[in-house]
Subunit: 226 residues, 2 copies
């Protein structure tokens, strides 16, 4: 019997599916439906060797972001407006999109850059055409260099951090926690959460590293130390 | 003995002071320091004859504001940006001041008007020189046509609603309550509260009606019906 390449691939997938289901059945055992003891012995906080102080937590976050080829800047609260303007001028951005509830002061210095307040009627073509989006975040994780958006204040809908090619995200120092469990504890699981770890990169096609496959090619973070 | 005009005035003041203190002592009686029963039999809510529905509460608020020579407009949430811009264009405003955390969308249509984000370093001369301020509010009272600011979100510090000569205030329909007791129940007494009932008018000098004595001469309210 002739087996085509497609058939082979189908067969491999089938084999994986069966293996996964078998593992699930094994794990469930005969106790299906009864509560299972979930091991919680992972580390919930940063150890003293990783971060002894708040400054260390922020430094670790910065380091991890830099590892991911994201740009990071640290500013005082009174420099935020000029820093955002300078970052956008540096990219020669002409038009950006922001959540309608972004604090006005963040954009108060934005001479020569048109900021479009997002609404449900902004179409994807417009979001694709802008030079960048500017948002806040809900929480950030130092150990993984991750930013989490939950659609709350100054964050807008998910499309803002996914469709424009460059994402400028403002993180207040008090939003940075050490670990993922600490971040989860601060978040509401019923909100639309977007976890962002560095600029978007995919290696789905022949393992070639292609930026921007599933989100912005550029991620720029401004940490505000209040 | 010669009595100067100044002496007479001093004497009159002294007389008033003694009279006031005497009344306070009378009111305190001998029970000083013990709790007093405060009569609470005033009406805490609007009666059905005043406002049978939410729409009536909003209509009453609008009517009372108009009685005070304030301008009132009603808009949907998606028209807010254009309404604020149109209101400022109509006044030929060139420069305004806003709290730094004013939602960006409120000013997104503001072509040709410079919006200054307020900070602690903005001096009074600058606040005097701008054409208007734009703020939100904490709560509004239908029966009295009053707007209350508490320094919270989109409101900024008190100077913003006192120093510029024109105050444009955005009131969301769900911020309007019927009566003062209802407003007090929503407010935190420890915050810096500013109660605004119409544009500023004083009759302190010879009972002549002088606008702008203690605040803006113009009050313009935009009610957002979400």
């Amino acid at each position: 019997m002739a087996v085509t390449a497609a058939g082979q691939r189908g067969g491999t997938l089938m084999g994986s599916r069966e293996e996964i289901l078998a593992r699930v059945r094994d794990a469930l055992g005969t106790a299906s439906g009864t509560p299972v003891e979930v091991p919680r012995d992972y580390r919930r906080r940063l150890g003293a060797e990783e971060a002894a102080s708040r400054a260390d937590v922020i430094a670790l976050f910065t380091e991890r972001l830099a590892d991911q080829r994201a740009t990071v800047r640290h500013v005082g609260a009174d420099e935020l407006g000029t820093t955002i303007a300078a970052a956008l001028w540096g990219r020669e951005a002409k038009q950006i999109v922001v959540p309608a509830d972004l604090p006005y002061g963040w954009l108060a210095e934005l001479d020569g850059v048109r900021a479009l307040a997002d609404s449900q009627v902004t179409d994807v073509a417009t979001l694709r055409a802008v030079d960048a989006s500017v948002t806040g975040c809900a929480v950030a994780v130092a150990r993984t260099g991750t930013i989490v958006l939950d659609g709350g204040r100054a964050q807008g809908r998910r499309a803002l951090s996914l469709v424009p090619d460059h994402h400028l995200c403002v993180v207040h120092a008090d939003q940075i926690v050490g670990t993922v469990p600490e971040a989860v504890a601060r978040l509401d699981p019923y909100r639309p959460l977007t976890w962002i770890t560095g600029p978007s990169v995919t290696t789905a096609v022949e393992l070639a590293r292609v930026p921007g496959g599933h989100g912005p090619r550029g991620l720029e973070v401004i940490v505000v130390e209040d």
